[in-house]
Symmetry: C2
Subunit: 203 residues, 2 copies
């Protein structure tokens, strides 16, 4: 295992590099982001970039790619101030992946990909009925990353809908019970099994 | 599976909420960040917040927690301008978790946790010899998230060391071949198996 090879992303051809670099960070979450535009048209998009920012207040970030083409999710979040995050399980990975196709603004990815919009009454943004862990968020801030024109979208989690049986007495959620999947790179989906939990580390 | 329960993080007790909210984003990567301070003292810290920012240039982000206590990794990156990211595999999860203990500044987590520092010659930051996917990065920017005093650290990937046999002809890296693990919540480690890869989605 010690015979590693050195790679330099800067010297790779473009498509090769995109697949390579996308795999470097390791396993990623799979979440469908649900939004509506000011006319009520629903949008759904797969994001693998959700990142935990803090528990109090409960904040998470999403990376939106550069606005070289229409970015419906970012535009909808900016105009309505709300969005949902819906965890992808192994029964909906093909539909979830299909939401990443470039549909026109007036086509709903819910309809095109066979997923069901659902409203909790708390937020004016659509959840995915098929998802087993659904978060409702209010936009708190967008931070531009000028280095490459991406945008960090920060939302505050205002409600969570999940299976009560997956939530432990200590608050930990066993997402393997929800059949949550992990993404690697641009297009590789994985199931998982628990290896270990460790107590809070002390020197 | 439709009988979901509604949770509101804002009403949870603090430790319970920390575990709960940390699990909401889904599976996370496990990476050890290697740095040195200006005196050459080595530091190693587990991060589950690595996020892909772009392939050209090859950029990734890390979230550093609020500086309510000493943040050796952030301080070292700011003073030396370089760091390494070392993927955690299932053979080193216990050692990796142990790096999250609060060691004093003059104690090396490499020594305390039984991992081996290694230098490529390219960067003045220590890699983890036991890791099978190692990234060398130069600091490009730090962006403060004023909402909760976290910091987004952005690095450019200048070299990658991994097993050539895990890199496909299309550039995708099969990180299951490297026994890479996924983290859920604060302390839960998982192995993975591939479910599917899908082609670039078209409407």
């Amino acid at each position: 295992m010690s015979a590693l090879t050195r790679f330099d992303p800067a010297t790779m051809p473009q498509r090769h590099r995109a697949r390579f670099v996308n795999a470097l960070t390791g396993f990623k979450s799979a979440n469908l982001v649900g939004t509506r535009d000011p006319h009520g048209r629903e949008n759904l998009a797969l994001f693998s970039s959700a990142v935990h920012l803090g528990a109090d207040p409960a904040l998470l970030g999403l990376i939106s790619r550069p606005p070289v083409s229409e970015r419906h999710t970012l535009e909808n979040i900016l105009s309505t101030g709300v969005f949902t995050l819906n965890q992808v399980h192994d029964g909906i990975i093909q539909a979830a992946h299909q939401t990443s196709a470039r549909y026109p603004r007036d086509a709903s990815e819910f309809v095109a990909c066979g997923l069901t919009p659902w409203y909790s009454g708390t937020l004016d943004a659509p959840y995915v009925l098929e998802s087993r862990l659904r978060l409702g968020l209010r936009l708190r801030e967008t931070i531009p990353v000028t280095l490459n024109n991406t945008v960090l979208i920060i939302g505050e989690i205002v409600e969570v809908l999940t299976l009560a049986s997956a939530v432990g007495e200590d608050g930990h959620i066993d997402i393997t019970q929800l059949d949550a999947v992990a993404i690697s790179g641009l297009d590789s989906y994985h199931r998982t099994q628990p290896l270990a939990r460790y107590p809070y580390a002390k020197p």
